[in-house]
Amino acid sequence: MIFANVLSQLPIALPAISYRAVAPELVLFGGALLILLVSATTGRKEHPGLYRAIALAAAVVEGGFSGYQLYLAQGAKASLAVAGSIAYDGFSAFAGIVVAAVLILGILIGPGFVQRIAGDGPEYLVLVLVSAMGALVMAQGEDLIVIFIGLEILSIALYVLVGYRIGDGLAREAAFKYFILGGFSSAIFLYGTALVYGATGSTNLAKIANFLSVNVLVHNGVLLFGLALLLLGFGFKVSAVPFHLWSPDVYQGAPTSVTGYMAAMAKVGAFAALIRVFDVAFGSQITLWRPIVVGLAILSMLFGALFALRQRELKKILAYSSINHAGFILLGVYAGTAAAISNTLFYLVAYAVIVVGTFGLVSIIQDSLGVVEGSCSLDQLRGLARSRPALATVTAIMVLAQAGAPFTTGFLAKFSIIVSVVEIREYWIAVVAMISAAIAVAFYLRIVLAMFRGEQEQEVEGERVLAIQGAATEIPGRRPALAWIGVSLSLLFTIGFGVFPQPLLDLAARAHIIG
């Protein structure tokens, strides 16, 4: 009451807030608060099962609500809310579904390991829910400032998640690197926002678009510089070459079960915002940013694939592979047609699910070897097919899906990007993309090879392997039943929609951007 009175005294006009538009965020944030509340009020004993149930329920409700919004957004229901700073359209609804999918997988796969090093506390789930909320804000943000807030919510939660094993040198390095470079890139993003504001007089995407369509800038240097800085900020977040240097170390040092979640959620949020900003606000300036985006895409695809060839550390290889994927997704952004954006979203959801599943499997593998979820060398995988055939087979399927094996969503994702690029008649870029995919196959196969073969080599390198395993801290095994459920879900998704992709493609086709 007092608060309202004070507010009414101030010369601030509060916009009408459409709670329906921000309901997904509210659900996730509410879930996080509820978990904290339960933890704080139920005495000393923690209830990990209950927390997890609340988090899962929040994720499912959020996903369901986004699905309903996607259904509604078909007609004229798409709109801007909260003084035009939040978009409520098919695109954000689809992004909401992707976020929910990643979140559910993250909740199923993640906590097992974290519980062992950090106890039964609610922190992990709260951080995961909050970071997902940040990604949602990014996907819905229709204003550069709102997007920045989403970016920070997402990033800060992720910094903490990455640094969970603070006692470990690699993990400390990873968290510190991620934090410093992430903060740096956020600052650059903010500076870009300021310059764009200077050039166009607004931070609202729709207003920027309107300004740029009505006016022609005689001196567009400020706008150009602002655009470049925005792209640079996004480039850091999606780890596109040449802004990728942090990602291999961070992937390596972060707890394995967190790495997959981080890779997926950061990309979903950043790419959703990237697409909206460049499609809505700067759609008329496409000739300005297109060459930069395609340059980033090609560099990411080629160098992601080439650098990975030289690695012997599994998580670093996967980091470079996700740089390669980022290049493909950027190509979809580059193509820029409505169909291309749907295809990009399809790639994004396919990639997100596969990558969470893959890291979940690596986490299960590390668990079965009894090692800490830190660095994982390829040598550790040797002979896995003999000792754990089912685990090795499923891992091989997921890795091959990343490589783009037919009858998986990984293949259709690459295919749909190629379709988008060919549709705008950029045949040579499509060729380059496929060549990078062919190079990438080589390192994906090295992972598979390490698991399925290596008994003979193991004898030669036996001492080294023993040394590695001996050095690792022994941790009592857990029963990763929930992680297995998460992995199975992602496998089911990858193969199910790989064979019958039409429903998912239909959903992605509904994801129109308002404006």
Binding site: A390, F415, S416, Y427, I439
Partner: protein
């Protein structure tokens, strides 16, 4: 579901079922029985297709066409003509034999599962008339064959498997871009987004576009076939892979390449195929001669057969690009023949390796004295591969050379040198391995009944198809001549084919 759907579905479902079969330790080998049963059912299905096939009809038979992925205009479109038919029969037969041939595996589950998946993928590639579906199956063949080579192979099979995978994948990468480009060019002309082959055959392409697309498509098929100079993966892969996998690689999957050239290159880009015929013919002849020369210098029988395979696949490409009905029929027939005798050759090599642990001709010798029946059967296969009249290799090779001589005299003349050379190196190798006396040689067991039964169907076919190839030729003929007609009837776009009027005149 039509017969062709079943041809794909039976092994695919079998492959999916295999991981769920859990048997007690002592009954593990029952999985092998399961694999055999599935592949026999498949053979029966293929035979039924062969019987029900109408040899006089042109066009596709047993057609299935339903929507699959509407957003991309992809449909599940299967059909068979003469080429498809004979390749289906070959595939079904060789898979049964390969199932029987595997030995020394502790747990057959993985082996049977990959083999069945490979069979489904091969059947899918041969029957798909939708370019997307074809590409998907074409790619799918890589995964099981990779695991078969890497998992069950000998020596440095891991490296060979990766090399094989990356080479073929790089080729397919261009194929995918080519397919999608073609589809969108067709879409912009007709506003009909489709991947179906008959619809895409009506696309109007400018000369340069057609040339680039032809090259993109051919890249994939040239690696798979292999055509010189894209063959470097093949000796390593053939040598490192386990024998049943080589039977599939050389017997069936190599045919995917030459099949793709006929089905897609010639049907979609006839005028470029005609104007680039000189290039393909030259590469084919170089492959024939180069393969023969290298094979003559090889001491390892496995690599020798791999290079001789390169040489023989060169003949098939030669016949295709001669653009005569004889050459085309010969090439298609030779695909089957080559599959049969190469499979038999590799099976025999497997038996030798099992007995001696080596395929080095220098370490073998005098085998004929110790195992005369074995030697006689091996000799028969060698003769078939050399092209002795009365055996199956001769019929195809003769038709190819005849067809090529009509239109491209000098290429045919050069290729004949390859025939002679192949006789030289094969017989020389045979002589060194089987006849050269070797003191204090370890014993060499005579062929066992099981082994004889394994190769008996192949030997029977070698003789039968050598004496009476009509059943196959009568089914291949209509398809072959319609393909040739299609290529020759194509109008040249712009001046692309202007450089080769003499060739066209020569045919007419």
């Amino acid at each position: 579901m039509g017969y062709l759907d079943w041809l794909i579905a039976v092994p695919a479902v079998g492959a999916l079922a295999v991981p769920f079969i859990s048997l007690p330790e002592e009954r593990r080998n029952l999985v092998r029985g399961f694999g055999l049963a599935i592949s026999l059912v498949e053979l029966v299905l293929a035979a039924v297709v062969g019987i029900k096939f109408n040899p006089h009809a042109t066009g596709y038979q047993f057609v299935t066409n339903v929507h699959w992925i509407g957003s991309f205009g992809v449909s599940w479109f299967l059909g068979a003509d003469g080429i498809t038919l004979v390749l289906i029969l070959l595939t079904a037969l060789l898979f049964v034999i390969a199932m029987f041939a595997m030995k020394g595996v502790k747990d057959f589950r993985a082996y049977v599962g990959w083999m069945l998946l490979l069979e489904a993928a091969c059947m899918g590639s041969f029957t798909s008339l939708d370019l997307f579906a074809f590409f998907v199956f074409f790619e799918l063949t890589l995964i099981p064959s990779y695991f078969l080579i890497a998992d069950f192979g000998m020596g440095a099979s891991g490296r060979a498997a990766v090399k094989f995978f990356v080479y073929t994948f790089a080729g397919s990468a261009l194929l995918l871009v080519g397919i999608v480009s073609l589809v969108f060019i067709h879409d912009s002309e007709t506003h009909h987004l489709t991947f179906s082959l008959p619809a895409l055959m009506n696309t109007h392409l400018s000369g340069t576009t057609q040339l680039l697309l032809f090259l993109a498509f051919t890249a994939a098929f040239a690696v798979k076939t292999p055509i010189f100079p894209f063959h470097t993966w093949s000796p390593d892969a053939y040598r490192a892979a386990p024998i049943p996998a080589v039977v599939m690689l050389a017997g069936v999957m190599a045919k995917l390449g030459s099949y793709g050239i006929i089905r897609f290159d010639l049907e979609l880009f006839p005028s470029t195929a005609r104007s680039l015929a000189w290039l393909m013919l030259t590469l084919a002849v170089i492959g024939i001669l180069y393969g023969a020369v290298v094979a003559a210098g090889e001491r390892d029988l496995g690599r020798l057969v791999a290079y001789s395979s390169l040489s023989h696949m060169g003949f098939i490409v030669l016949g295709i690009f001669a653009f005569t009905t004889e050459g085309m029929s010969g090439s298609i027939l030779q695909m089957v023949n080559h599959g049969i005798y190469t499979a038999a050759l590799f099976l025999f090599l497997g038996m030798i390796y099992e007995r001696r642990g080596t395929l080095d001709v220098g370490k073998l010798g005098g085998l004929q004295k110790r195992a005369p029946i074995f030697a006689a059967m091996f000799m028969l296969v060698v003769m078939a591969s050399v092209g002795l009249p009365g055996l199956n290799g001769f019929v195809g090779e003769f038709l190819i050379l005849l067809g090529t001589f009509i239109t491209h005299r000098w290429w045919a003349v050069a290729a004949v040198a390859g025939v002679v050379a192949s006789a030289v190196y094969m017989l020389w190798a045979y002589q060194r391995a089987f006849h050269r006396s070797q003191a204090d040689a370890p014993p060499f067991g005579e062929i066992r009944l099981k082994e004889a039964l394994l190769v008996a169907p192949l030997l029977a076919l070698i003789v039968l198809l050598g004496v009476y190839p009509a059943p196959l030729l009568s089914r291949i003929g209509p398809t072959a001549s319609s393909v040739v007609q299609h290529v020759l009837a194509a109008k040249a776009p712009g001046a692309a084919a202007a450089s080769l009027p003499a060739v066209v005149k020569g045919v007419k």
